[in-house]
């Protein structure tokens, strides 16, 4: 098996080509698939996703991939959820009603508040570049997905819902939108999630992906 291989899960939703291209650009050998065996045997897996939580979970559930992802996660090998992929790692989401997630990282998905820190309306979705910040209690990103990232470097977000982890030790990076803290990177052991799109974040994103494929 190629040392730099990555499997990207295809469950019918998501901008697969961009993720694939981004990983390939960084030197990875990418397989995009919904095949259970290939996923289980992968060295590292990416769960992408764009769109509504309920549709994402439906896509996983109806193909049985929800179980596959959980089984794979249990193996201890690296799993990276991107954007919706990250949100689905949590227990549940309140988007379009109550929806159950994969439950791999304790927490829930809630709507980004429509009022900013000054109690004024700000634009939802949160769309655009935003800088990554160390959360309280964390001094640096060594050993995490953001190993090579300098605090303050910007990445690209586009979402209306945000992840709230139950345990602060799972909070790896935040960003500020309208003064409000939003989860940017979360992680529990081998299971990592980034709310932003590393494959859409220029050089900073690419170096994050590069680090991931070397895990």
């Amino acid at each position: 098996m190629n040392k730099l291989d990555v499997v990207v899960i295809d469950y019918g939703i998501g901008n697969l080509l961009s993720v694939q291209r981004g990983l390939e650009y960084c030197g990875a050998d990418v397989t995009v698939t919904d095949d259970k065996d290939i996923i289980m045997n992968a060295t590292r897996v990416v769960l992408p996703g764009v769109g509504a939580f309920s549709d994402g979970m439906k896509g996983l559930n109806k193909t049985g991939l929800n179980h596959v992802v959980c089984d794979y996660a249990a193996s201890g090998k690296p799993l990276l959820g991107i954007c919706l992929g990250m949100q689905m790692l949590l227990n549940e989401s309140e988007e379009f009603g109550f929806n159950q997630g994969l439950g791999l990282i304790p927490g829930k998905v809630t709507a980004i508040p429509s009022l900013n820190i000054e109690n004024k309306n700000h634009k939802i979705p949160h769309i655009g570049w935003n800088s990554l910040k160390l959360p309280e209690g964390r001094e640096q990103w060594d050993g995490t997905l953001l190993n090579n990232v300098i605090p303050g470097e910007s990445v690209y977000f586009v979402h209306s819902f945000m992840a709230e982890v139950s345990s602060s030790e799972h909070q790896i990076a935040n960003c500020l939108y309208g003064g409000i803290k939003i989860s940017a990177v979360i992680g529990s052991g081998n299971i990592i999630g980034c709310q932003f799109h590393p494959e859409k974040s220029g050089d900073v994103g690419l170096k994050i992906l590069k680090h991931f494929i070397n895990l």
């Binding site: 291209r21 764009v50 309306n121 634009k123 769309i127 570049w129 586009v158 209306s160 859409k200």
Partner: protein
């Protein structure tokens, strides 16, 4: 409190990057992806590709261009022109686009906005609006690349579209487009005041000071630039530096 985005807008016809005045008289500028790549390397925040003959051919023909761009360009790409159905959206996203911009078909069938937002998420659904000033504080929606009138009021239309789930508005002034005489500030202001989704101002950028005006006065969340970049009258770097010097929050590279 949030970063303003600097976006390159590429109008495409067939294999060519083109530019017009008032969406008319389309001059061939060159290779779309050569230009896109240059802007990416210079630090552009996003790229918009608009197929300007899609309504004539009845389809969006940017698949190849987008697929090719996706190999080397790693910032968000929005693709518009001739997006008519959920299949079109799905196909476009699978080629590497992150968002789709819809105009003509959304006007003819507004429920499409809801369908796209539900299936793919609001953040993926950009409403493209071509606005023509018809009297003070009133603008009319045009479709088919500025060729056909609809008698729809822009302000009413954007509100309706937001309710249906549009996640962003790409607002193009037909009057200012290609003239280099600045954005239609009253238009941008009227729309940003009324919607709570991000608004991308497009059409009329002549110089960097227009950028400041449309953000500070018009309250635009993002600025789409075409002529000024395609004709190399300014670089992305200079524009970013200028924005910062004016106190406008933009991504700091």
């Amino acid at each position: 409190m949030r970063n303003i985005r600097l976006i390159a807008r590429l109008d495409i016809k067939g294999p060519n990057l083109i530019k017009g005045i008032h969406l008319e008289g389309l001059r061939i500028i060159g290779s779309p992806n050569e230009h896109a790549l240059r802007y990416y390397n210079e630090g552009i925040d996003e790229i918009i590709y608009m197929d300007s003959v899609a309504s004539l051919y009845g389809r969006n023909s940017l698949d190849d261009i987008v697929k090719s761009a996706a190999k080397d360009i790693f910032v968000p790409m929005t693709v518009g022109g001739g997006i008519r159905s959920l299949d079109d959206v799905s196909n476009t996203l699978r080629c590497g686009a992150d968002k789709v911009a819809v105009n003509s078909e959304a006007v003819k069938n507004p429920e499409l906005i809801r369908d796209i937002a539900t299936r793919f998420g609001s953040q993926c659904m950009v409403l493209s609006v071509e606005a023509k000033n018809i009297s003070p504080d009133h603008w009319e929606v045009y479709i088919d690349n500025g060729r056909e009138r609809t008698h729809l009021d822009v302000i009413e239309w954007v509100q309706r579209a937001e309710d249906l789930g549009a996640g962003e508005i790409l607002l193009t002034s037909i009057d200012q487009e290609g003239t280099r005489r600045g954005f239609d500030i009253p238009l941008v202001e009227a729309v940003t005041k009324i919607v709570s989704v991000p608004v991308i101002a497009s059409g009329g950028m002549g110089s960097s000071s227009d950028l400041a005006k449309v953000v500070i006065e018009g309250k635009a969340d993002a600025v789409a630039m075409a002529d000024i970049l395609h004709y190399e009258r300014e670089t992305v770097n200079n524009l970013r530096k200028y924005a910062l010097s004016e106190g406008i929050e933009v991504r700091d590279i």
